[in-house]
């Protein structure tokens, strides 16, 4: 193990010094090449929380790390597969760790890290060209969660998550707000259409929404019966939901929810999300949306806004090569707002907007066009590109 961890440190040091990478994945891979169970060795004797799901992984992981109120080993750069987990644990001696985990890797990472808590946020369509279809993924999760000696903190509002998590004997159910139901219209158990009632969903086969222990309230949340005040600096209903899941996980880990909630108020941006930046001379606020569920959440937050909006859509490997999902996004709600389209699939986006009756302008390069700060919603690789290209304000 000593040789393997040294390899991780050395390779990552070279990677960072040479400017070729953020220095996490290459080193992790080098270490795993020497010792395939390096992750298990590094996780042993630590209290580990895992966070997985289609959307909100990075934010919820950062919230758990922040709310814990101590030094925490965590993968902050979005490197959410075993190589990234290895690098995060090599880089910290903390006895507690919170790791964001890619949905497809979750079963492997559970068996390697023996976590105390597994947080399951949601499951929806994303990168279907390279990921398993979403129902298959729910089934794989279900198979792996049945025998675990850990608490699952799970989203009761998401039928696919409930299908997966209900195999576990120890579940802490939460009810975060959800603006996406398109992947939950057919019952995961019997495939009949689900009744998506206003209060709770159910199916005629008997599969139904479980009662939640942790819920949002008027000014905050109730975590396992204990009221807490939520005063988040980052915007949006979706982030109140992420905070709810983070606080529930911390409560399971023995952290006082009220104290954890007060710490969350200090989070202003997460890995560039919601950060204000200047990109090619234009002041922007950077927003990430990678898939229909992510866009549904971002566009819901945009309802109060009127000015110009930028949207950037790429089709890199990490985005999915097929932008068909743009037709699962309700862009019609942007009617009356001028939208600028950027990214490798800007023409696909502009066509979608034309069919939605939204005034769209296609631009090849970003240039300063507007006074003040404009919102810029980008999918994954476009977001990373803009983050690197932008100067912080």
């Amino acid at each position: 193990m000593a040789l393997a961890t040294t390899a991780v440190r050395c390779v990552n040091w070279v990677s960072r010094r040479s400017g070729r990478g953020a220095g996490t994945v290459v080193g992790g891979n080098a270490g795993l090449g020497i010792d395939p169970h390096l992750l298990a060795h590094l996780a042993r004797s630590r209290t580990v929380a895992l966070v997985s799901g289609t959307n909100g992984k990075t934010t919820t992981t950062a919230m758990i790390a922040c709310g814990w109120g101590r030094d925490v080993a965590t993968n902050t750069t979005g490197a959410n597969m075993p190589a990234g987990h290895v690098a995060a644990l090599v880089g910290s001696r903390s006895p507690v760790a919170v790791l964001e985990c890619d949905e497809r890797w979750l079963p492997d990472v559970i068996s390697e890290t023996a976590p105390a808590v597994v947080v399951l946020l949601n499951l929806s369509r994303d990168q279907l060209d390279r990921a398993a279809e979403v129902r298959q993924l729910a089934q794989r999760w279900r198979d792996w969660l049945s025998g675990g000696d850990f608490v699952v903190v799970a989203n009761a509002r998401d039928p696919l998550v409930v299908f997966a998590a209900s195999a576990s004997p120890r579940v802490h159910w939460c009810a975060p707000p959800t603006s996406w139901t398109l992947d939950a219209r057919s019952c995961p158990v019997c495939t009949r259409p689900l009744d998506l009632g206003a209060d709770a969903w159910s199916c005629t086969c008997g599969f139904e929404e479980p009662q939640s222990q942790s819920v949002l309230t008027e000014g905050g949340a109730r975590i396992d019966g204990r009221p807490v005040t939520l005063d988040l600096a980052i915007p949006g209903a979706v982030n109140r939901g992420n905070a709810l899941m983070a606080l529930a996980a911390l409560s399971v880990l023995g952290v006082d929810p009220a104290l954890a909630a007060s710490r969350l108020a200090t989070l202003r941006e997460i890995e560039g999300r919601y950060a204000k930046a200047v990109v090619a001379g234009q002041a922007v606020r950077l927003l990430l949306a990678k898939n229909p569920a992510g866009f549904a959440a971002q566009l819901a937050d945009q309802a109060e806004h009127r000015g110009p909006l930028w949207i950037a859509i790429n089709d890199g490997l990490a985005d999915g090569r097929d932008p068909s999902w743009l037709y699962d996004v309700d862009f019609e709600q942007l009617r009356g707002r001028p939208v600028w389209c950027w990214g490798t699939r800007r023409l696909d986006l502009a066509t979608r907007l034309w069919y939605a009756g939204v005034e769209a302008t296609v631009v090849e390069n970003i240039a300063p066009r507007h006074d003040g700060i404009i919102d810029l919603i980008a999918n994954y690789t476009a977001f990373q590109e803009l983050r690197r290209g932008g100067e912080r304000r």
Partner: protein, 227 residues
């Protein structure tokens, strides 16, 4: 024109509902009336000029097959209605399709086509030639579809796998089907208009938009040649 989306809860994995939006918009922007309706599982099939079938995962695809077999869609087609199907919707219209493992499942048998499991999933950009013109899009499926003698393919494959790397989908009167999934009509405005013209019985006025630029760019990107 009444356009009906068939079971969008079950068949709508890749933004397939976009085809209804595209067709309705291309009519309305020319001043022609259009109405889009959704058919839910268990609903009676309403009268419509065109029925749209999208893609779906295995479980929902089987349920959709059962519901289609019990439906009046064949009667509607016999009365002159059109069908435009993509991906799993294409497979559903044939006599049988493959499900998990090597098992097969009965389809609606509206056309004599059989889908079996391929040796690998076909995922990626695809282009097919239809009536001498390119149709561009994306495919993501695990099927190989065999057409009975006498059943015409929808197009011939230029890029990708489609039915069997040679032909794509099928066209039987007003029943059209392609493996190019999702909102394929959004990328191919000429095909959307050809479908509408075939149902209306007359040609449509030109309708310029950014969709034409998208089509030209995708044709150049996928085949190295123009449209």
């Amino acid at each position: 024109m009444r356009i009906a989306l068939v079971f969008p809860e079950l068949l709508g994995t890749y933004g397939d509902g976009g085809n209804a939006v595209v067709l309705a918009q291309r009519l309305e922007r020319r001043g022609l009336p259009a109405e889009v309706l959704s058919i839910g599982p268990g609903d009676a099939f309403p009268d419509a000029d065109l029925y749209l079938l999208g893609g779906g995962e295995d479980g929902p695809q089987r349920l959709a097959a059962d519901l289609l077999i019990a439906s009046t869609l064949p009667e509607r087609v016999a009365d002159g209605a059109g069908v435009f199907a993509v991906c799993a919707g294409l497979q559903l219209l044939g006599t049988s399709f493959a499900v998990e493992g090597d098992a097969t499942y009965p389809g609606l048998a509206l056309v004599p086509a059989v889908t079996v499991r391929g040796s690998a999933r076909s995922v990626g950009d695809a282009a097919v030639r239809v009536d001498g013109r390119l149709v561009v899009g994306f495919e993501n499926h695990g099927g190989v579809t065999h057409l009975a003698p006498g059943l015409d393919a929808f197009g011939e494959v230029v890029v990708g796998h489609a039915n069997d790397t040679v032909s794509d989908g099928f066209r039987d009167g007003r029943v059209w089907a392609t493996y190019l999934h999702g909102p394929v009509l959004a990328q191919n405005p000429w095909l959307a208009d050809a479908l509408l013209a075939s149902l209306l019985g007359h040609e449509l006025e030109p309708l310029a938009s950014v969709a034409d630029d998208l089509y030209a760019a995708r044709c150049a990107q996928l085949t190295g040649m123009g449209a």
